[in-house]
Structures are given as C-alpha cells and as structure tokens.
Symmetry: C2
Subunit: 268 residues, 2 copies
C-alpha cells in the first residue's frame, strides 16, 4: 500500500491513529505537502519575516492563529499536533525528543508559558507526482527511503534573530531530462519551484553527496545529474541556530498532507 | 517625457526632488512597482499575516526591519519616506493629510511613540509593460489618468484585527485579447497575477463602473470587456476598517518603483 491515490483526509486519519508512521514521500498524488514549525508567539514575527524574505526555501502555505491547533485554509478538520507521522521537540535549540503525537506538549506549553503559532511551509514532495507524470524518475520513491537533504553554503536573508544557510533536497535526474525537471517544478513556486542548483554539489558547499545531513542516501546512476531544490527543512536549521527556548517541528521527510491540490496552488 | 524607459533610481531621484509628483503608471517599463503601508510595530504581525493569507491582493515584495526607512532587497539606497510621489497620513483610520515627503512625520512618530514597519506590496502597474508588448492596450496610460479602482464584495481572509473585502483595478480589454491578458498576467503572481474577475462588474459588487472608488474613470470602447485585477489598495482599505491609531501609505496610483525586474520576480 503506497497511498499514492489516497485522499489526504484519509491518510491524515491513518497517521493520527498510528497506522502510518513513516515518511510521506509518494503519498496523496496531486496534493501539496507541508513542513511544520511551531514556535512561541514572541518569536513568530521574526520567522514570518524570514519566510517572506526567503520564499524559495520557505514558501508559506498557512500560518495559524495564535494558540490554534488547526490550519483551516489548507486542511479543514485537521489537528496540527496529531496529523504528522513524526515530530521533533526542541528545547534551547537541542532536539530533546521525537514523538508521533505532540498534543499534550502543545497544551502544556500553552497552559504554563504562552501561546504557540504554527507555520506550514511548502514541501518538494508535492511536485514529485508531476515529475513522475513527465516520466522523470524520483529515486527515493523507487528505493523506498527518505529524500536526501544537505546543508549548503547558500546564504539566506536574515530576519531578526534568524539567519543561516539553505538546506536542499536532492534528486538524481537523467541528464536529458534535467531541463524538463526544471520547467515542471518552476511552475510550482509554492512548493519550492525550480532547482536552486544543478550538477556540482561542491559549488554549494556539499562535500560528500553520499552522506546527506538529513534523510537517506540514494543511488546516482551513470548518466544522471544531481539536482538540488530548496528544502523546507531550512527554517528548522535556521531556527536551531538561534537556540529558541522551545520549538516543535515535523521530523524531516514526515510531512503534513494538505487538502490543497497542487494545480490550484499554482494559481493562488 | 513619459519615463517609460527611465531607470528606477533616476525616477526615484526625480520624485525625491519634487520633479515628478503624479501617478507612476507607465514609468520604468520592466521594473516592479509597489504599494506602501507603514504601520506601528504592534499592528505589524496582523498585517503580515493578512498579506500571507491574501496573496492575490497583497503579494509582499519586502518588509522593512523595524524602525528602518529602507528596502535593501528591492531598492538599495532608497528612502521609503521620500521616494513616492504622494503619501497619505491616517490617524484613527481617517485620512488627515497628503504629503510628498513624510520623513519628518516618520521620525517624529518614532521619537515619541515607537517603531514603525514598512510593507511593500506588488502593484499591477508592473505588468502593464508586458500587456503593451503583447499589443494589449492599457487605457489609463493612453488617456493619461490614474487607473480606476473599485471596492468589491469579494471577501478577504481575516487576520487579527484586519478584515474586509478586496479592492480591484480595472482595465478595459478588447474581447479577443482577454485570454492573452489572463495568460500574460498569470505569469506574474508577485504583482497580482491573473485577473480576479472578467466581464460582469455587478457579480463582484460594483454598481457603477463609471464611478471608481479610487483613481479616475476610463473609456470602455465597443467590443471591450472590463477586466478586474486584485489591487494593492486592498490592505489600505482593510487597514482603515480597523481604525489604527496611525498609518501612512502611498496615495493610490502613486507607487514605489523598485530596482527589481519583473522577469526576475517571476522566478523568485
């Protein structure tokens, strides 16, 4: 069961009930997936500004009302704290745990410390169904692993306490299909759009393509070129640089699946 | 002198020195123009969230650092308080004056009340050069007046204290060229993108097309269809609904001209 043809609301329910607990790559073809960052209200201005200034890496799909656990525009009836397969909890910038359900942590924080705000940021998993439609292979789906992600030397524009470099995801693409892969993804800017780099990992500060900083390594076949897209793990990485007292995020590759069709997102 | 071929930095200097004081439609072909909203820091979260939730009407080009008078990403060396031909000053939601230079008001407010934050929002003037390139007429340029703008019944998504309906700009387009006008502008989402309505003003709550709520009326010729685009005056209208203690904006049609080429904005 690969859930490629499942409806987002069904998959979110399977996740909520613990039946799905792995990466969401390849699920719910045609629907946008998102990265999650949950922050205390006092840090939210800086993150919202950071996203505005770095739309390639941080295309915002939705920002919650303060204190709310729902994203009414992109996934009615969902619960931000339960509908992602795996979360990470950060205290003072250090990951202090993973969980499949953060609802009690969310409420506990709000009761004792203050309101939280949730950010949903477009994920490149969203465009993979369109790559497949164009007969462009997506290696990590073929190999059943998480997408490889790397820290780079590409600077982001700073905002308040947040500054840092871009995280990218990598897909090996047959060289003859690279231009088409650029064209297909460029049409989808709300889920990272066109690649940020093609072909030379060392130019963007990646030393060893076989050792991703997040996710899993994938095979690069003869005649294939590594192509790099901006990644929604960027705000997590940047966030942790600034050692916020508290934050919760999705675990890399374990995304929030929205009810928004990619085709509609192209024009919104 | 229509300044269509002038560089933005030159035109901004002419504006700063009072030599240009009219609407900026038709100026600096190929460069993005923006709407300005300046607000006290305490209202800025709600406006940033409002823009995120309503990107058709409020596509953000840049948000300043608190207290700063510059937009370093879109117009290096510019001064937000001097480089627009005409500004409006609002107190408790009421327009209490217009001015060609708001630098002293800006500094006075900051000295006595607190920091201000400036929002630059894409303007549909930016895509007019591309319409002209496609042999699509732009009536208010032909007639030498400001673009007609209307209040509508199209709801915006609320954010904090801000809620209201969309303001639109209207251009009459020969019926055979309407599809091309949609395609040309849909490719430019950061400056409002595709039309929001085509052909029937009454469907969107406009009673009298000859009496725009902002700007000037223009001639609609036989065989032409009124086409409506989301307008960056929307945040001003919404803002005033909430009667903020203080705000400053551009005067409708008198925009901030950036150094950012529209072609680059398509891919950023």
């Amino acid at each position: 069961m690969d859930y490629a043809e499942s409806k987002p609301s069904q998959v979110r329910e399977l996740i909520r009930n613990g039946i799905i607990d792995g990466p969401t790559t390849g699920m719910c073809n045609g629907y946008a997936q998102g990265n999650l960052v949950i922050l205390p209200e006092e840090l939210s201005w800086d993150l919202l500004l950071f996203c505005q200034r770095n739309p390639r890496a941080c295309p915002l799909l939705e920002v919650s009302d303060a204190g709310s656990r729902s994203f009414p525009q992109t996934a009615k009836g969902s619960d931000i704290t339960k509908d992602i397969p795996r979360y990470r909890i950060y205290e003072n910038g250090i990951c202090t745990g993973e969980s499949t359900n953060i609802s009690s942590r969310f409420e506990e924080y709000q009761k004792t410390k203050g309101r939280l705000i949730s950010f949903l940021i477009g994920c490149s998993f969203s465009f993979e169904a369109e790559l497949l439609e164009a007969d462009i292979p997506v290696r990590q789906i073929e190999e059943g692993v998480n997408v490889p992600m790397y820290n780079t030397n590409i600077p982001c524009i700073s905002a308040g306490v947040f500054s840092g470099t871009m995280v990218v995801s990598m897909r090996p693409i047959p060289h003859s299909k690279v231009p088409m892969a650029v064209a297909v993804t460029a049409a989808m800017p709300k889920v990272h759009g066109a690649p940020i780099h093609i072909g030379y990992p060392e130019f963007i500060g990646i030393e060893n393509i076989k050792e991703p900083d997040y996710g899993d390594p994938v095979t690069i076949k003869e005649g294939e070129v590594p192509v790099f897209w901006p990644c929604g793990v960027t705000p997590q990485a940047v966030l942790m640089n600034s050692r916020p007292s508290f934050a919760m995020t999705h675990a890399p590759g374990h995304m929030f699946i929205t009810d928004v069709k990619n085709t509609i997102l192209k024009y919104s």
